[in-house]
Structures are given as C-alpha cells and as structure tokens.
C-alpha cells in the first residue's frame, strides 16, 4: 500500500503528517465560531432511493468562476487518474465534480451532515446475507463527456483497474485487493488481462464477489477509484492522468500537475441522473502550493479578486485578523483525523512507560509551537477513533481511572512503576529539521519529557517528510528510534477504515509494530458480526487496545480553519471528505 499525499493542515504543523486518506465522520455547521466549536457530527444517513436531480437550492445563481486556494504544503494531485486518488484534496475535488462512482455523498442542509446516495447505480447495492456478494444495477442514461453512454462493462473495468497496485497505487490497492474475491492475486487488467472472476457483468448488473464479509461496499463505492473507465489505449496509465474523461458536471479544461486544475462545464452531464451534484458555476480554478501569507493577506483584504475565493488552509496566526475582516466566513471545520505517537512495541515493551509518555507529552504547548490553536484546530482525544464516528465512546478512559493530560508527576509515577528512575529511560524520536515550527514543537515536547523524568534524544531529519522514516524499517534513523508516529484519517465513517490499518500486525502504518494476537483476531472477527453490532464491537476493541496495551498515544484530533469570499453562495462543508462541499456552491452575481 502506498501512502498518498499528506493532509495539508498536518504537514504544515509538521509534528505529524497525516496519511492522506479520505476524511470522514466529522461535522459541524458552517458558521461555527471557534469559541464554542463542537466536534459532534451528524452521522451519515443512507438514502437508497435518492433520485436526480439534486434538491434545488434557494437563491442559487448560474455563472461565474470560483477559485479554490490550497496554500503550501498542499501541492495537489500530480496525476488526475481517478484510480490513484487517495487524498482529501484529490477526492474532495474530483469525486464531487468530475468522476461519478457507484455511490456518492450528498449534503443535507437541514442536518449539516452528509447522506450516502446512489450515483451511477440505481440504489446503494444489494448485498447477500453475509455480505460476501454485492450486486449493483447501473443507470442506463448516464453519459461520458464525449456523449457516449456509460456502460456496466466500463464500470467493471474501473473496478478491475483499481486492483493494479503497481501502476496505479491508490486506495483500491488496499480495499479492492483485500476484499474482492481473488483480488490478492490479481494485478489489474494491464498485467493479468481483463478476465477477473470476482466481478461479473450481466446487462446493466454488476456482481462483485468478496473474499471476506464486506458490509461497507456502498461506502467504498463512493471513491474516485470506483469510477468507470473506458477500456482501451486512451485510458492507459500514466497518460490518462493528464486528461481523464469526465462523467460528472465538470470536465478538465486544463491541468498542470501540482499547480492548477481548471474545470469547465460538462454539457453531456444530465442533472436528472444525478441526485447529489449541481452545475451552477461556469468554471472552477483550483490552485495548489500557494503562498500562505499572500493567500491570507488577499483574503483578509477582501478585494474584488478574493470575493470568489475559497481558502482551504487559514494560517492559525491569522485567525484573529480573519474574524475581524471576514466575520463568520472563516470557520473551524473537522478534519476527523488523529495523530499518534507510536512507541516501538518491542523496544518499549513496558505498558507503564508508554503510559508515562502520555503524561509527559505537553499537549497544548507542543500544539501551539507547531502552529495549531489548542482547543480549536487541535483537541484532546481519548480514544483511537475520532469523535463522531459510530462506536466512539467519548467517556472511555484509555488509561483506567486516569484523565490524560500533561502531568509530569504522574509520568514519574508510571516510570517508577516500570522500574525506571527519573533520567534513566531515553526516548528517541525524529523531527523535521527543515521547518522552524517543527523544531519549536520538538523543543516543547523534549522539555515536557525531560520534566517528566525521561532522557531525550531527538533526531533531526531534513530529507523530506518524517513519514519516510516512520514507515521504512530499513531507514537508518528508523532503526535508532524507539518511538515512531503516524496520523490517520478514515476513508469513510467506519472504524473498519481506522483500527485495522493502525493496529493490525504488519500493516505499514502500524509504525510502532504493535502486534497482539487477540487484537488481530478481533479485527478479523468484527466484520463477520451482524451489521448493527459492528460499531459497538469496534468501540469495545478501541477500549481493549487502549486499556490493555496502550500501544499508541493519541496526541490530538485535528480540525481545519477555512475561509471563503464574500461572493461565494451556499458555502457548506463536506464532513465526510473533510473538504469544502463544492457540489452546491454558486457565485452571487
């Protein structure tokens, strides 16, 4: 499995970079003020009978251009090949506007949450009793941007293409290959031919057989990686990534990798087939790797140009300026990601030492030094699962009988329990040496650890992202460390996209090499449970992992600061993607 682009907000803080998966589960109304920000999110509601066109929006207007700014370090997609898309930004843009999939999300203005609705399929799919087989019926009136109809064969080809983990590493290389029957041995249509017994097409019907119970195929079906692909030379990687064929309301007008995407109206998109998307705006311009200071200053100036801008990353230091300049058009939005310290399970085998780290980490000071606003863009967390996810228990005590906070005396107690005198146990971790905020955050963390009785040895790294060190056991620095890290966002609001990648033996992002048979067994067992018991079972597993093993220290849930210009109409936030909801925005003329 390949990691995709880091989530921008995290990269800038550089304490931890996020595995860029699809955000999810979080939610918040768009006028929220940082002061009384709540992470409570409306759960995703499934609406299997939703039909096009998407519900009308009061006061919506046609025309205009919206520019979405992505300040550095969000450098956007390097390829627009849908199969490879696995970052918040990529999916937030392309799923919402360009690529239609089996299912998709729709914004519900009443709850402020997202709904799971059919997209290319007529409903949310029909599973068999034990979720080992899913059947989707494809609508017969959906067209490509060139006017030809989208066929079930093309949808099936897209599904098969998602299993090509060599040429097109993306989410499919993780989900399709591990759940589709025979997916672990199939290398995609380019390598192993079009013949894949796990997927069969009969007229407009597609049947997917699973190798293990997969009750969340309808969620996986929303991904850009599940979009149809026309077989043939034109869609071969990597060239397809420069000019992919659209099925959604917008098509690619121009694309400069890591710099800019310009989307224009797709005249062959039929709103009557699409229950989720609108086509109000003439063009979307998506700019990446923009200068943070310039973007913030322009937004704050509220000049003519920035009135139709959306800024996806507002710098924490400018938050006060924003609130006085643009009022409630700046807000805190949940990213529903968590970041973890991952002590090496073999090098730090004592649970009391790992617990001591939790009390030695000076949460608020490290966050502030890293550029976050404590309590606003970073919040204390108790569980592995982010708040709002089904099964997450906000009252669970990860260390029985304790509230987690920076508490050097408590840390010393736990160290003593493990048999270590103050100053005896050495923590070794890596930090990004090219970034002042990261260095300041390291200094704060170091000071906290030392106050709590640890010896410290931080390792500077300037060769790129600290993920290079964390996820590569062969890296010489990795070998010297006894504490790695990771940050994670779920792909859809389900613990199944959260706990297994982080705590299953041998997973790449299980950077602390946590390995317990009882946990592995549970991870295997939960998907086979009746569907309404799974969420609670994941919650129980979360509790068990924390209370019995405490392998990772959750150092905070992450929220984003975003702002939009005066002329942006109906700005809403896609709580599942963790990205502005571009489906329903318009320009106030």
């Amino acid at each position: 499995m390949k990691r995709s682009k880091p989530i921008a907000a995290l990269a800038s803080g550089a304490v931890l970079l996020a595995m860029a998966a699809c955000g999810g589960g979080g939610g918040d109304d768009d006028n929220s003020d940082a002061g009384d920000f709540q992470s409570e999110t409306p759960p995703v509601v499934k609406v299997p009978d939703a039909e096009g066109p998407a519900p009308a929006i009061d006061g919506s207007e046609e025309g205009g251009t919206i520019t979405v700014m992505h300040p550095d370090p969000d450098d956007g997609p390097s390829s627009l090949d849908p199969t490879g898309m696995w970052s918040v930004t990529d999916n937030g843009i392309m799923q919402a506007l360009v690529f239609r999939s089996l299912t998709t999300y729709r914004y519900n203005p009443e709850t402020g949450g997202m709904e799971l609705v059919p997209d290319l399929a007529t409903d949310l799919g029909t599973p068999n009793e034990d979720f080992t087989e899913w059947k989707f019926t494809i609508k017969d009136d959906v067209k490509w941007e060139d006017g030809t109809p989208v066929t079930a064969e093309e949808v099936a080809f897209g599904l098969k293409r998602s299993m090509d983990s060599e040429q097109l590493p993306g989410p499919g290389a993780y989900y399709s290959t591990s759940f589709f029957l025979g997916g672990d041995k199939y290398g995609g249509p380019y390598k192993d031919g079009d013949d894949f017994p796990g997927i069969t097409v009969d007229g407009q019907d597609i049947t997917i057989k699973m190798s293990q119970p997969f009750s969340e195929m309808d969620f996986w079906g929303t991904f850009a990686a599940i979009t149809p692909i026309k077989p043939g030379k034109a869609s071969e990687p990597p060239a397809y990534g420069l000019d992919p064929l659209a099925t959604g309301p917008y098509k690619v007008k121009s694309f400069t990798p890591n710099q800019e995407i310009v989307l224009e109206r797709n005249e062959n998109w039929d709103p009557n087939t699409d229950p989720a998307r609108h086509q109000f705006v003439d063009e979307f311009v998506l700019k990446f790797d923009q200068n943070q200071e310039t973007t913030d200053a322009t937004m704050i100036s509220n000049n003519e140009e920035s009135k139709t801008w959306i800024n996806t990353i507002v710098s924490g230091t400018k938050y006060q300026d924003y609130t006085s300049a643009v009022g409630d058009r700046v807000g805190v939005y949940p990213q529903t990601c968590s970041s973890f310290l991952a002590p090496d399970y073999k090098k730090i085998p004592e649970i009391d030492v790992r617990r001591a780290i939790a009390f030695a980490y000076d949460y608020e000071n490290v966050w502030a030094a890293a550029g976050y606003i404590p309590g606003t863009t970073r919040e204390m967390a108790n569980s592995i699962l982010p708040p709002g996810m089904l099964g997450q228990d906000p009252d669970m005590e990860p260390i029985p009988g304790e509230t987690i906070e920076f508490n050097p005396d408590k840390a010393k107690e736990y160290l003593a329990k493990a048999g270590y005198e103050p100053g005896e146990f050495e923590l070794r971790w890596v930090y990004d040496d090219t970034n002042q905020e990261s260095k300041d955050a390291m200094e704060q963390a170091k000071r906290g650890y030392e106050e709590a009785g640890f010896k410290t040895k931080p390792f500077p790294y300037s060769g790129g992202s600290t993920y290079d060190v964390w996820t590569d056991p062969e890296n010489p620095i990795h070998k010297k460390l006894n504490m790695q890290g990771t940050a994670w966002c779920q792909d859809w609001p389900s613990a199944a996209t959260f706990i297994p990648p982080l705590f299953k033996t041998g997973e790449q992002y299980n950077t602390g090499n946590f390995s317990e048979k009882s946990v592995d067994d549970k991870i295997k067992e939960i998907p086979t449970l009746p569907i309404d018991e799974q969420a609670d079972a994941w919650g129980e597993l979360d509790k068990m992992i924390n209370q019995e093993y405490y392998p990772d220290i959750n150092v905070g849930n992450i929220n984003n600061l975003q702002a939009y210009g005066e002329s942006i109409g109906n700005y809403t936030y896609d709580t599942v993607q963790g990205y502005p909801n571009l489906r329903d925005v318009y320009v106030v003329q």
Partner: protein, 336 residues
C-alpha cells in the same frame, strides 16, 4: 593625491617656525601601510564603522556573559509561561504590551524563546561562520593565485580551469543539494549532525568563496613577477618559496585586506540566506533562522523581524564601508 602630498610634506620638511626649539623631527621614511593607517584614522566614517564592528565582535565573544547579565538564556521554556496559546503571541512585552524588563528584546511568538539571548548567540554564529569561512577562502585563494601567477604554464591553466569550474556551479543549488545528503549521512547521530551542519556551512561558503581571490592574486602576481626586485632575487638564486613569501606576498597585503574586509559582510549575508532557506546551521541560534521564522509575523509583531535584520544590516554596512575606506586608504591614486 592631495592627502599624500600633505603627508609627505609634513613628514619631510622642517618646521619653519620654531627652528632650534626642540630637536628636529626625525626624518623617517614611512611604510605604505603606515601611511594608509594614518589616513584611515582621519576618516570619520571608517572610525564609526570600526567601532560598530568592534561592538559586534565584543557581543559575539561575550554573548554568554551579556546574556547572563540580562538574565536571559536560549533554553527553551514551557511556552505557556510566556505565550497566549490561543493567539501565539507573548503575554507580556511587545507587540501588545510595553517594554518587558525580563526580556528586553521580547520573546518569540509560539515558542516563547527569549529574543535577546537568540540575538546575542545569533551574532556569535554569524561572525564565527563568516570569519572562518572568509579566512579559509582567503588562504586558499592566495595560495592558488600565487601558484597560478608565478608558475604559469600548465599550473596556471589548470588552476584557471578549476576556478572557472567553481564559478559555474551555482552556489545556492550546491548548498540545497548538499543539505539532504548530509542529513542522510549523519542523521543517525544528532550531536554529530549539529556539528557537521555547522562546519558544512563554513565549508560551503569557503568552497564557493575563493575564486575571486585567486583571480585577483594571480593578476597581481603576473605583473609583480616581471618587476626588477623579483627578477633580481631570481638572478641571485633566492629560493622560490622565499621569493613568494618575502618578495611578492608583502606587496599583496593591500588587495588581500580589501578583499577580506569586503568578503566578510558578503558571507555574513550569505550565511543568513542559507539559514533563511532552512539549510543553514541547525541546533544553534542564528540571525537567518530568526528572520525565517519572523517573516510571517511582520504585521503583528514587527520587532521580531527588525531585531535580526537591523543586526545584519548594521554589521554588513559597517564592514562594507570599512572595507571601502581601507581600499581608499591603501590606494595611492585614491582622491582624499
């Protein structure tokens, strides 16, 4: 010319007004260096600049003592003791409050580091790196220039080629490329890494700083080696080494001094530039790093940026003016 005339008149003629009052002033030949120094002493700009330079040198040398005197240190503190974590700005002192006697220069936003301590030690870092790199570059440049100019032939062509080669390598590109290599090579030992980074900055600055020196020296030597005193020494069988060090080198002092006094500020600025780009020193304060962190705060907290900028501007301008003055003083043709 005028200056020179006066000087020589004053030193060669007898005082016409008081003959016999006191023993006649000794008629002393004065070396060109002496003349230059006397001229320099009369140059007010040079004196002011010299005082400023000395001031910064004292700061660099006694950074620790001065920091102790003000009760500040570069130790990192718990940020929340000095910083409002919600805004990231200091609780006391600038920019929102008046002068804070505990931290005369204020504290850095977010981290709460004391800015005076960082400024003092940053000055030390800048001066050490720039002066060591300048001296190294000067030595390399002089040696290669001497060899090229005096030996000529193959040696000359070879050294000329190497000089041209180094001039074509973009300095910044090389520095940017070197940083990750060093990080990979020495990243497994944090203490060694800090030391390596420190010396690597010196080496990078020196490696890309000697070429002009070599060219200047080579040109001078080419003309000097045809002069009578060198030819005479050669004829008398004086060994080459002696000719180089005793006959030629003393005549090169002027261009070397000028080059060093102008090269030093350039390297101070270059070091700050490297630090600003994140490839400078690591694990110790430097002005360039402070500037890098202070830029985003310019609107809210301008003092944060002004402190290191004023430091750099003052010392660079002073050194440059001093260098100019030295050049003028040493140049017999300069108008004074």
């Amino acid at each position: 010319m005028a200056g020179m005339m006066q000087e020589s008149l004053a030193s060669t003629s007898h005082d016409p007004e008081g003959p016999g009052d006191e023993p006649a002033k000794e008629i002393a030949g004065r070396s060109p260096m002496r003349i230059a120094f006397d001229r320099l002493r009369k140059d007010k700009v040079a004196i002011v600049c010299f005082v400023i330079v000395i001031f910064f040198i004292l700061i660099a040398v006694f950074a620790g003592v001065i920091a102790d005197f003000f009760g500040v240190s570069t130790e990192s503190v718990r940020a929340s003791e000095r910083i409002d974590l919600r805004t990231g700005l200091p609780l006391e002192g600038p920019p929102n409050n008046g002068f804070d006697p505990d931290h005369p220069f204020g504290v850095a936003p977010k981290s709460g580091n004391d800015l005076l301590a960082y400024w003092l030690y940053g000055c030390r870092t800048s001066l050490i790196i720039a002066s060591v790199a300048t001296v190294t570059a000067a030595v390399v440049g002089v040696v290669l220039g001497l060899i090229a100019g005096y030996r000529g032939g193959t040696w000359d062509r070879l050294i000329q080629f190497v000089t041209d080669l180094f001039l074509t390598i973009p300095f910044l590109l090389a520095a940017l490329a070197l940083a990750p290599i060093l990080s990979d090579r020495f990243g497994t030992d944090p203490e060694l890494y800090t030391t390596v980074k420190f010396y690597s900055v010196i080496i990078i600055l020196a490696v890309f700083g000697w070429m002009q020196m070599t060219r200047i020296i080579r040109g001078e030597v080419l003309s000097l080696r045809e002069r009578e005193f060198v030819l005479a020494a050669k004829v008398m069988g004086v060994p080459t080494r002696r000719i180089l060090f005793k006959e030629i080198l003393p005549n090169l002092v002027a261009p070397i001094v000028v080059w060093v006094s102008l090269g030093l500020p350039a390297l101070i600025a270059a070091e700050a530039g490297l630090a600003f780009l994140g490839i400078g020193v690591s694990g110790r304060p430097s002005w360039g790093q402070t500037i890098n962190t202070a830029v985003p705060y310019f609107e809210e907290y301008p003092l944060y940026l002004w402190e290191p900028v004023i430091g750099i501007v003052l010392i660079v301008v002073s050194l440059n003016l001093l260098g100019d003055a030295i050049r003028d003083a040493l140049d017999p043709k300069a108008r004074r």
